[in-house]
């Protein structure tokens, strides 16, 4: 058996020797072929078809991009800006025609304040116009530091940081904190720069209904349930509420005390955009926090631009050092942009203190542009004394509604006319408005008109009051009764100039009885 086996082996070797060369080569190739088959894939995974150079050239030849910009109609409204010559103060020359300015955000009238101008000129002579460098690279001037310091002191926060452009302030501040994966709860009426900031942050964005705290709480609750499901993720997901103090789009004030309650309940941070409310709301113009008496430390970040009430350029953020300092390296608009012009920084320094502390001419105006609906309306408030304004500001817009109050005050001795308007949404608020506005004795007209545009008609009841005291009582009587009270401005444009009429329409006849009878409107000389 063993020998037999041995023989077979020997046989085989012998056969190998004896086999012709071509046979061996053939077998060798066969073996290699089998090995290749064993190790190669049996089918091709993907059909590769590379384009030839010629085909590529053809493709390049054929491709036609869309035009860089789509064609536009020649009569688009934005192509024909109104040209303003001269300073845009309370009188403004638009397309060569003098008008009364109801469109600028020059709330405090600081645009043509002589003291501000003089300060600015002093700085201009010392520092020139531009800063020629970002803050990190010799673009930090002593006045920048002073302004930051004074803003922080004024707002009673630890620190403030200034930006050179109002639009960029909140748009840079949001992405400095809120990153990918974080959650931002934002009011659906938030202004455009907030939206851009949110977009840049790449966070999850949840919109809640405008000023609707129940809706916000619903979202926060949903988030809480979500967090319980995934606690590890929740530990690193930052949460923010972004709201505006005074909404530019709706002229509403945010319900800050409720927001603060929600903040602590659900552990969310609040970023507050105060571009409209800074210098306008609150006893000293510190914005909604002062207006509601909320502790400013409860707000994590306040951002405002200085292009409205302060009538300069730029913006600032303020809050605790813990929060603000981070922006000095992470705020893109801060690090990578040239710092604010010095003379502007400078004048703002003096403004912040001079404007808010001492009584002066104070204008508030809110311009709202609803481009979607294609119309524009402005709400204005101008008062002769800062003190009056303080209380006037209070009732501005708590509720959504269409209610305007306007007061026109004529100081005949001085021969010019202020008009005061505010949008108020509750009868009760109106009381305090009237109350404060008419404390000063003078010739006052108060009237209200109600325009029901839906029904396409307009009626007005007017009253004129010649003594401040009467007005007070009028207002009281008007509002004691629960009723719908509309205050509105009717502006008549006659050929030769402007006349302003202010109307008061009260739904309850009883209230009106005590008012002296009067013609429906007074034509004021231009």
């Amino acid at each position: 058996m063993a020998s037999g086996q041995q023989w077979v082996l020997v046989e085989m070797v012998q056969a190998l020797y004896e086999a012709p060369a071509y046979h061996l080569v053939l077998e060798g190739i066969l073996i290699l072929w089998i090995i290749r088959l064993l190790f190669s894939k049996t089918y091709k995974l993907q059909e590769r078809s590379d384009l030839t150079e010629k085909e590529k050239e053809d493709l390049i030849e054929e491709w036609q991009p869309e035009p860089l910009v789509p064609p536009m109609s020649k009569d688009h409204p934005s192509l024909n800006y109104d040209i303003v010559t001269g300073p845009p103060s309370h009188k403004i020359i638009v397309n060569g025609k003098e008008c009364i300015n109801f469109a600028s955000f020059n709330f405090l009238g600081l645009l043509d304040n002589e003291r501000v101008k003089q300060k600015a000129l002093t700085s201009l002579r010392r520092y020139g116009v531009g800063t020629c460098g970002p803050r990190g690279f010799y673009g930090t001037f002593d006045v920048h530091l002073e302004l930051e310091d004074r803003l922080a002191k004024f707002m009673k926060t630890e620190e403030a940081i200034i930006y050179s452009y109002g639009f960029a302030t909140i748009a840079s501040a949001i992405p400095a904190y809120s990153k990918r994966g974080d959650i931002v709860f934002v009011d659906e009426a938030a202004c455009f720069s907030i939206q851009k900031g949110l977009q840049a942050s790449r966070s999850f964005i949840k919109y809640f209904k405008h000023n609707d705290m129940e809706d916000l709480e619903r979202l926060l609750k949903e988030q809480e349930i979500e967090d319980q499901r995934n606690p590890r993720k929740a530990r690193v997901t930052r949460r923010f509420i972004v709201v505006e103090g005074l909404y530019i789009n709706t002229a509403d004030v945010c319900p800050l005390p409720d927001l603060v309650k929600l903040k602590y309940k659900y552990k969310v941070r609040i970023f507050l955009e105060e571009s409209m409310s800074f210098g306008v709301l609150g006893e000293h113009g510190r914005g909604v926090t002062e207006h509601f008496g909320v502790n400013i430390d409860d707000i994590d970040l306040i951002s405002a631009n200085m292009e409205n009430a302060v009538a300069s350029i730029g913006g600032f953020c303020c809050g605790r050092s813990f929060v603000i300092d981070h922006q000095r390296l992470s705020g893109q608009g801060y690090c990578f942009s040239v710092s604010a012009s010095v003379f502007q920084a400078r004048d703002t320094v003096s403004v912040c203190f001079s404007a808010f502390v001492r009584p002066g001419i104070l204008f508030l105006c809110v311009s709202q542009r609803l481009s979607g609906q294609g119309y524009c309306f402005c709400v204005f408030l101008s008062v002769c004394q800062a003190r009056d304004t303080v209380s006037l500001c209070l009732p501005v817009s708590f509720r959504l509604g269409i209610l305007f109050l306007c007061v026109s005050q004529r100081l005949s001795g001085q021969g010019y006319c202020f008009s005061v308007s505010a949008s108020v949404f509750q009868a009760r608020d109106t009381v305090s408005v009237c109350f404060s506005a008419f404390v000063r004795p003078g010739i006052l007209f108060l009237c209200v008109s109600q325009r029901l545009s839906g029904q396409g008609y307009c009626f007005s009841v007017s009253a004129s009051v010649f003594q401040a005291r009467d007005t007070v009582s009028v207002c009281f009587s008007a509002s004691v009764r629960p009723g719908i009270l509309f205050l509105c401005v009717c502006q008549c444009l006659s050929g030769q100039g402007y006349c302003f009429c202010v109307f008061l329409s009260v739904c309850q006849a009883r209230d009106t009885v005590s008012l002296p009878p009067c013609p429906p409107c007074w034509l004021l000389p231009p």
């Binding site: 390049i60 109104d82 469109a103 101008k117 690193v236 930052r238 040239v338």
Partner: protein, 563 residues
């Protein structure tokens, strides 16, 4: 090579230099940019555009690489600092070292932390130690000389307090004051003062509402004339000009090809637009062409639909590299592949070109070849804001749909007037040649300063025409030492390191100005030479022949300073 001799430099020098380029520096040509040696390889792109008789080609641009040991030492330096950082974090955690960092409020302790701990590691442990080199406050005009406010820190740079003293007459090598329009001469600023008196400081409205002043219109027309284009639009902030206008031009289904070293504002704008972004190597035409070909041939990812638009975004002068965009090549590529070109001239407008019209003039190109011309007024014009210029349809469209045009406040009147004044001066509309003289002075200063630095043996980046001169310092320790030593010698310099630059390429950036006098530059060069020797900053391995004929009175100036 003949192209390089078209440069302003005297021909004999040019020849010698080129010879050196060819023979000695082959090893030193950086992968990033070796244009002067590879110029002829871009035939494809040149072939596409008919050669223009006016067209000037790029001056040599160098990106010399440092010796290997420098990179090793740099990493080592960062390694040591990082290790110490961890050690100190540990000490802080156990309470052995006092923690200076601002704390969260007690009431909000249980909130999700606002910052991740590691996010601030770099700030806390590296940046804090050297913070005094940045954000130095000044208290004078940012002209050629300025006064720096002295700061002291009792707690190793965690807080600063001003001593009230100033370091007077520091030579300013940091501000972007290219043409010296940061000035406070009462005669020059007369019109600005008048406008301030007349209009006040702000506008308090947007352009679309009641903020469109007559001087805005005037400036827009002047900018269009200055650039030689149909129309232009001005905006209040340079950063926002980029970040808010790019989204109006491109969107979903469009492709943005962006240079890897583009400014943050361009990156933000590209990101906000929602378009697909692809990045090409800095100033590298091969990389750009490859991306363009691929984009046109394969279309959008997954669906393979053709792209709606392709937009190339580049800068005129790159502010950290000092390199000038290779515009003729890019224009040729863009024409071939039908892409659109967005050119950001933030640093180049006013600063380069025989009459200060920017890179298009530098290369003798027709401005209409560039689809979107963007620039800022912050640098050469000593003001603030930016512009977008181009065809009328483009500007009209942006006026109606660009975010910043619709929603942001109009430019401040005094700033507008400053730009008007500076631009009229450059154009010679004020009846003088001051503006033109400044442009020429800047070019002269640039060439002088750059050539002297190269002779001294510093590694400098960028184009010979660019007034931005980065000197490579590499190691983090040297960056700080350099900045402090220069301030001690009354020279204000800007130093930048990681993350603004690649980790191994920390640098000092010098911005030249027409307002710098030769004596100032000589003083700076003299001090640089000494500091460079003290700190061993002369890394260059190139051999430069002394060229006394180009600046023959240097020796006198130097000896005066030494005396």
């Amino acid at each position: 090579m003949a192209r390089t001799t078209l440069s302003i430099a005297p021909v004999p020098n040019g020849n010698r230099k080129i010879q050196l380029n060819g023979n000695h520096f082959k090893s030193a040509i950086c992968k990033k940019n070796g244009y002067h040696n590879k110029a002829q390889k871009n035939i494809t792109s040149h072939g596409a555009s008919p050669p223009c008789s006016k067209q000037r080609f790029q001056r040599p641009e160098s990106f010399e690489q440092a010796p290997m040991y420098v990179a090793v030492m740099t990493y080592l330096g960062f390694g040591i600092v990082t290790l110490f950082g961890y050690f100190r974090d540990f000490l802080r955690a156990v309470g052995l070292e006092k923690c200076h960092i601002a704390r969260e409020r007690e009431e909000q302790k249980d909130f999700v932390p606002l910052y991740q701990d590691f996010e601030n590691f770099y700030t806390r442990n590296l940046y804090m130690r050297v913070r005094d080199s940045w954000n130095r406050p000044i208290c004078s005009l940012p002209g050629p000389l300025f006064d720096v406010m002295e700061r002291v820190s009792p707690d190793h740079n965690w807080t600063f307090s001003l001593t009230g003293k100033t370091i007077d007459n520091v030579i300013n090598m940091g501000s972007y004051n290219y043409l010296g329009f940061a000035e406070n001469n009462a005669d020059f600023l007369k019109t600005v003062e008048d406008i301030t008196q007349q209009y006040g400081l702000g506008v308090c409205s947007t352009r679309q509402e009641m903020g469109n002043l007559a001087i805005h219109e005037e400036l827009e027309q002047l900018v269009a004339t200055f650039l030689g284009v149909e129309s232009s639009m001005i905006l209040g902030m340079g950063f926002a000009t980029n970040s808010m206008n790019i989204p109006a031009l491109v969107g979903k289904g469009c492709l943005i090809l962006s240079d890897e070293l583009n400014h943050t504002s361009l990156i933000l704008g590209a990101r906000l637009s929602g378009a697909t972004i692809r990045v090409f190597k800095h100033n590298n035409m091969q990389s750009l062409e490859r991306l363009l070909r691929e984009a046109v041939c394969t279309g959008q990812p997954r669906t393979h639909r053709p792209w709606k638009k392709i937009m190339i975004i580049v800068e005129g002068i790159y502010s950290m590299e000092g390199s000038v965009v290779r515009l003729p090549d890019i224009v040729a590529l863009k024409k071939k592949y039908k892409a659109y070109l967005y050119l950001d001239e933030a640093h180049s407008i006013g600063a380069v070109g025989p009459t200060g019209r920017g890179v298009t003039e530098l290369f003798g190109l027709d401005p209409s070849d560039i689809d979107v011309m963007m620039g800022t007024f912050t640098k050469s014009f000593g003001a603030a804001g930016g512009y977008i210029a181009g065809k009328k349809e483009l500007v009209d469209y942006l006026r109606s749909y660009s975010h910043s045009a619709v929603y942001s406040s109009a430019m401040s009147p005094p700033v507008t007037e400053q730009i008007l004044r500076a631009m009229k001066c450059i154009m010679g509309l004020d009846g003088t040649t001051i503006g033109l003289a400044r442009v020429q002075q800047l070019a002269e200063n640039t060439h002088y300063f750059r050539s002297r630095l190269q002779e001294m043996g510093f590694i400098i980046y960028g184009n010979d025409d660019s007034p931005v001169v980065p000197i490579l310092l590499y190691m983090p320790g040297k960056v700080v030492a350099f900045s402090r030593a220069m301030l001690k010698r009354k020279i204000g310099v800007v130093v930048v390191g990681f993350p603004a630059t690649p980790i191994t390429e920390a640098r000092a950036r010098f911005c030249l100005s027409a307002a710098h006098t030769k004596a100032m530059l000589d003083q700076v060069l003299f001090d640089l030479n000494e500091v460079g020797d003290d700190l061993c900053l002369k890394f260059s391995r190139r051999i430069f022949s002394p060229r006394p004929q180009q600046h023959n009175n240097n020796d006198d100036a130097d000896s005066q300073i030494i005396d």
